[in-house]
């Protein structure tokens, strides 16, 4: 058995509590929803990576995962639908020494926010994107989303879906992300470690987390409850680090390939900007400094 990531000194106190706005509990997520699990992994990743919590901001869009920003005791921004990434872009450029994490869902990031996502990856902006992919628009009742696999019943596909989904890791890989990984909510330890690794990596990082929506997706598709989904993830997933991202597309009940797919070196936006402007302008270049309240 591997050693625990966190040594719990107070057995009656969950170390995650320090990271949460406990005065906002109970949360809105359904029983069996995977988003809470991902938040647990997130907090453990913050402990492991020794991230300065005062220097960390979290930005969410809209949707079930969009509510994460409201529950974590960090500088947290619950923005508009699809626009977490451009908000994070401004925040990061104004305060370059902060860690900026975008925490949102598949619909928010890949449909309405898809354009922003690919451009932030292209720029290699130093932000960390955590995408909880529950394969549907959950907050609004389970409509077909950009990641919904083929032949799946949704609120807007009563006879099953017939438009092919995005393969999320392939898309962000192609757009230029320097770190791309995928896990499921079954892989809690790997996920926490993967997040910690991503936080340390400079540039545009992306982790997809396949997560159940028992209320809408699993129920409609007769895939059982949350526990059945965990068993399904355990059974069907295979850890294959370094798999070319064009081979990791998802189907309704086929194999889920997980692991770290991309870990490449490429200068990030700010590095490129400083280097270029420094070269072109010489002494005349005055880089923007993080503002100080006075």
């Amino acid at each position: 058995m591997s050693s625990p990531i966190v040594s719990i000194t107070q057995p009656d106190r969950n170390p995650v509590e320090d990271f949460l706005r406990t005065d906002r509990m109970p949360h809105i997520w359904c029983p069996g929803c995977g988003i809470g699990t991902t938040v647990n992994c997130f907090t453990r990743a913050l402990i492991e990576s020794k991230t300065d919590l005062d220097r960390l901001s979290i930005v969410s869009g809209i949707g079930c995962t969009g509510r994460v920003a409201g529950y974590v005791n960090l500088d947290s921004f619950h923005t508009t639908h699809g626009r977490a990434i451009p908000f994070a872009t401004g925040l990061k450029l104004a305060s370059p020494d902060m860690t900026v994490v975008v925490y949102s869902g598949d619909g928010d990031l890949f449909a309405i926010g898809g354009n922003h996502l690919i451009h932030a990856a292209r720029r290699n902006l130093d932000i960390k994107v955590i995408c909880v992919n529950n394969l549907t628009y959950a907050m609004t009742g389970g409509q077909t989303g950009p990641a919904t696999p083929l032949d799946v019943i949704t609120a807007t596909a009563a006879y099953g879906t017939y438009d092919p989904p995005f393969n999320l890791p392939q898309l962000v890989d192609a757009a230029g992300a320097v770190f791309v990984a995928r896990w499921t909510t079954f892989h809690v330890k790997q996920l926490a470690r993967s997040m910690a690794e991503m936080f340390k990596k400079k540039g545009f990082g992306f982790i997809e987390i396949i997560s159940p929506c028992p209320t809408l997706y699993q129920r409609r598709n007769k895939m059982g409850d949350a526990l059945d989904t965990m068993k399904f993830y355990k059974q069907i997933s295979k850890i294959k680090h370094g798999t070319p991202t064009n081979e990791v597309g998802l189907t309704k009940s086929g194999e889920i390939i997980v692991g770290k797919f991309v870990d490449r070196e490429r200068p990030d936006f700010a590095t490129m900007m400083h280097a270029h402007l420094g070269e072109e302008l010489g002494d005349k270049y005055i880089p923007a400094e993080a503002p100080v309240c006075s």
Partner: protein
């Protein structure tokens, strides 16, 4: 507080309105802009992108106006002053984040160089047809501040004022230019930095445990600010929220919060409303205009005066909040009001509402593409006074 001399190009310049607005933003302390190109506003950020690396500022070319309009809000929460620039079609896309800026009380400035619409309309030709959109374009109830320069000099001056108002009231403020003012080149005098008044951001000095990001302060009713990264553990949401920023979607909190978003501007309207008035004392007719149209109206007014008509001029420098108190005071004293604007009747509705039937209100509308002919305004003056 005075302007930071690093960004102030003190001296006399020959600038168009777009460039002058950019210098105004820099003088006001803007150190971040995100933009998406659109005629006739692009020159503002073209200049900013060239100036930024030499003054410790950042410019980023975004992928669309949705992105530009929220990147500036992210930057503001990172602690800088920020603005973006657009024109009609882009302004339509920015409505989402104008609402978000209002709801989250994010101080920021939008410059809209108006062109003919609807839709793609007249990309290179003027209009003043976004005047209602700026007030009502995003969903829900809110108040904003909108200023209308009529010269490159005012593009400079009023952009500074826009930033100052935005900090004072924690509200998005709009500089409503038009294509003619944006592309008109005139003398612009930029004063020494120590002569430029700049409203600083109102950073809280409260203890981290006591500070509430949305608790009103002072007669402005605008909360103090804190930025990300200073340990305040801010929560900012577009959902209806309480003073801590926590979502609280109840009718009681909605009433309290949205009412304050509105009253902080309405209760301070007389302080925010700037107008320019001439020959009002004995006026039988008053011409109301704003932006480029005020310069055309000037010719009509002079001609009418020469004909012996007692005509006064009221120029709206602040369009929103609408200077209701001024119109209400004027209406009972005059025979009529002529409203000249480069649209088919927008601000005239406000004038009619405030005139309350006390005098005739006549619109001199125009679908845009060029400015009015002075004779059109003169004819309306002659008709109203008859």
């Amino acid at each position: 507080m005075h302007a930071d001399p690093v960004g102030v190009l003190t001296g006399a310049h020959f600038l168009d309105g777009d460039h002058a607005a950019c210098e105004g933003a820099i003088a006001a302390g803007a150190r971040f802009s995100a933009g998406y190109p659109i005629t006739p506003s692009t020159e503002v950020v073209e200049r900013f992108s060239a100036r930024a690396p030499k003054i410790g500022a950042t410019f980023i070319q975004m992928e669309d106006e949705l992105a530009a309009s929220i990147a500036i809000l992210g930057a503001v929460w990172g602690g800088v002053k920020a603005f973006t620039v657009t024109s009609g079609p882009g302004f339509s896309l920015m409505m989402e984040h104008i609402g978000y800026a209002v709801m989250t009380e994010t101080p920021c400035v939008f410059i809209d160089v108006q062109r003919g619409g609807p839709s793609t309309g007249l990309p290179t030709l003027p209009a003043q047809a976004d005047m209602m959109q700026v007030k009502w374009g995003s969903h829900g109830d809110y108040e904003i501040i909108a200023l209308c320069p009529n010269s490159p000099q005012e593009c400079f001056d009023l952009t500074i004022k826009a930033f100052n108002f935005s900090e004072k009231y924690r509200v998005p403020v709009f500089v409503m230019m038009d294509e003619v003012v944006g592309h008109m080149t005139e003398k612009v005098v930029i004063p020494p930095a120590e002569d430029i008044e700049v409203e600083p951001r109102h950073w809280t000095t409260k203890d981290k445990s006591a500070f509430q990001l949305f608790a009103p302060c002072g007669e402005e009713q605008a909360p103090e600010m804190a930025k990300a990264g200073d340990g305040y553990k801010l929560h900012v949401t577009g959902l209806t929220h309480d003073e801590r920023g926590y979502p609280n979607m109840t009718p009681a909190v909605q009433e309290r919060m949205v009412k304050r978003l509105v009253t902080k501007i309405r209760d301070n309207a007389e302080k925010i409303c700037i107008t320019e008035q001439h020959d009002m004392e004995d006026a039988d007719v008053v011409v109301i205009s704003y932006g480029i149209t005020s310069r055309v109206a000037q010719r009509a007014i002079e001609t009418a005066r020469a004909e012996g008509i007692k005509v006064g001029s009221l120029r709206l420098i602040t369009a929103w909040p609408f200077p209701e108190h001024i119109i209400r005071a004027i209406a009972p004293k005059v025979k009529g009001i002529v409203v000249a604007e480069l649209n088919l009747g927008q601000m005239v509705r406000e004038v009619e509402r405030c005139a309350g039937g006390h005098c005739r209100v006549k619109l001199v509308g125009h679908a845009g593409g060029t400015v009015h002919k002075p004779e059109e305004i003169l004819k309306a003056i002659q008709e109203v006074v008859r």
